[in-house]
């Protein structure tokens, strides 16, 4: 196995190479990373915070390897950080916070708040149209951050059915909102 010689792990050249690697990682993947994180956190700002923390963690690890390997790992690290944040924060969601969207600075006027509130009312109504298990799965996944595997156990159904429920629920909401928007246009 190993000889009596000490193992050479870190060389000055290696750490410089690592910084270059990180820089490439950032330029090639940051946008996708933010997009990915936005499926798991509530705001773009939070996505950026999580991404930043992920880069910091990557820098602290003694890893080496191709950017293609590291980019995959970057997404993993970021996903784990997002999970931890949500876990610590608990699953309480304050609807008012969501209505005020910090990512759209122009959208802070009363009309925007009214529009978002109206949309939420519609969303609540359209969610009631979902079949019971589908609705329950959607609530569990969206409001309680439960994983599809856990939801499947809880409802006694297959995991692929849970996945299908989430897809169908989103598709239904989108379609109904579009209809409602079109109906409003007709009224004007």
């Amino acid at each position: 196995m190993t000889s009596s010689k000490s193992n050479i792990v870190d060389q000055p050249a290696a750490s410089q190479g690592r910084d270059e690697l990180m820089s490439r990682l950032y330029h090639e993947h940051n946008q996708s990373l933010i997009r990915f994180l936005m499926t798991r956190v509530d705001s773009e700002q939070e996505a950026r915070d999580v991404a930043q923390e992920a880069y910091v963690r990557m820098l602290q690890l003694h890893t080496h390897g191709a950017v293609s390997f590291l980019s995959g790992y970057l997404f993993k690290v970021a996903a784990n950080i997002a999970i931890d944040r949500i876990r610590h924060r608990g699953t309480q969601r304050r609807a008012s916070q969501l209505l005020i969207n910090p990512d759209q600075p122009e959208a802070t006027g009363p009309e925007f708040l009214v529009q978002a509130r109206e949309q939420l009312i519609l969303i609540d109504r359209f969610v009631q149209e979902l079949p019971p298990k589908c609705r329950q799965a959607f609530y569990l996944h969206r409001l309680h951050d439960m994983s599809p595997a856990d939801i499947a156990s809880r409802l006694g159904i297959a995991k692929r059915t849970v996945h299908q429920y989430i897809v169908v629920a989103l598709a239904h909401l989108r379609s109904r909102l579009e209809e409602a928007e079109a109906a409003k246009e007709d009224e004007r």
């Binding site: 705001s43 298990k133 969206r142 598709a171 909102l177």
Partner: protein, 368 residues
């Protein structure tokens, strides 16, 4: 105009990316899909906005009756399902719709009311079975002497809380398996692998006996932790008293704040005083190890790891590890392992981790 199919794809991607089981291959596929058309990107961003908006939903609880009566599995759109549920005054002619591959079943002229009554009767009969089905466990029957009332198995990565038939509470660790057999004079629990924390409901007429490998642990009304991995059982008592019986010792009385480790060897089981909060840290996502063989550490970590970890060499398992692993960040712990032991970590075809002995730079160069 974004087509219906594209909306469905975008929704599918949101669901896939949000799944904790999403792999790096999934993310790579998603990136390729986004890059293949600006409309894909656009559809995804819009679905994303909708997703975020739904965070403000007001949850209205779904009743058990509703859940039991529900037969929808997502094969058709919600609209079509809703239409098929409408009470019909006249029977409709057979109808088949083709909508992107989805169809509703052809309807004949039979009276819909009769169909619904028959259905309700069938539902009532299956309600009991369905109720069991909507809880977390499956009931199986083995041969008589291996008969079990209850078998529970948990997925990798998730702990599970359950209440047993006598009211005792159990938290079962990830990747673990437990079964029970309650008879008149005894409550038998079999921890077939993994880890569990028991809060035993007091019943002096029926001792609570946990079986793990060759040992048994008997409690009357206590709280204790049992870990069974690779032939080694470790029991930590947090409240009350537990009596241990092993193949080498008649009876070992274990009090709160103490822990016994039973191995498959002939050696006397070791008893130590411990910090019980650390032993039960896994309930809150922290795995704690004190001077533990790496093989055992990896076996436990694998119950929480997103991708399986293997040692390329059995001898690596003999390194002793002291420290903690966060159950949500096993990969990170793994990648930092080369700082502690002379190993290197390889990620094999995006599916599993391999720990290998580390070859130094100098050695690999001289080998060329």
């Amino acid at each position: 105009m974004i087509s219906n199919d594209r909306w469905m794809e975008a929704a599918d991607w949101i669901a896939r990316l949000r799944d904790p089981a999403a792999t790096q291959a999934d993310i790579a596929d998603w990136l390729r899909w986004c890059a293949s058309s600006p409309q894909n990107q656009d559809a995804f961003d819009q679905m994303q906005s909708l997703w975020r908006l739904t965070g403000g939903m007001q949850e209205k609880s779904v009743t058990l009756e509703e859940l039991l009566a529900d037969d929808y599995v997502g094969q058709v759109s919600v609209r079509e399902w809703t239409t098929s549920k409408q009470p019909m005054s006249q029977p409709k002619a057979a109808v088949e719709q083709d909508d992107g591959g989805k169809r509703i079943a052809a309807r004949t002229g039979s009276c819909p009311r009769t169909r619904r009554i028959v259905r309700r009767a069938a539902l009532a009969a299956s309600a009991a079975a369905a109720l069991v089905g909507t809880l977390w466990f499956a009931v199986k029957e083995y041969r008589e002497h291996e008969r079990r009332d209850l078998i529970v198995e948990t997925h990798v990565g998730t702990n599970r809380d359950l209440v047993l038939a006598d009211g005792s509470a159990v938290t079962l660790g990830a990747g673990s398996r437990l079964s029970t057999r309650f008879v008149t004079g005894e409550r038998n629990i079999y921890l077939e692998g993994g880890e569990a924390y028991f809060r035993v409901k007091r019943d002096p007429h029926r001792p609570f006996v946990v079986h793990a490998f060759d040992a048994t642990f008997t409690a009357v009304g206590t709280a204790f932790n049992v870990r069974a991995e690779q032939g080694i059982v470790r029991v930590t008592v947090t409240e009350g008293v537990v009596d241990a019986h092993t193949s080498t010792a008649d009876r070992i009385r274990l009090e709160a704040g103490h822990e016994v480790t039973v191995t498959r060897t002939k050696a006397e089981p070791r008893i130590v005083a411990v910090n019980t909060a650390q032993a039960t840290g896994w309930l809150n996502g922290t795995l704690r190890f004190v001077d533990e063989p790496l093989s055992s550490v990896i076996a436990t970590a694998n119950r929480y790891a997103r991708a399986p970890i293997t040692l390329s060499d059995e001898s690596l398992g003999e390194y002793h590890f002291t420290g903690t692993i966060s159950t949500s960040n096993v990969d990170e712990w793994l990648l930092a392992l080369p700082d502690v032991f002379p190993v290197s970590i390889d990620y094999e075809n995006g599916r599993s981790w391999l720990i290998q002995p580390r070859v130094s730079q100098a050695e690999s160069q001289s080998a060329r």
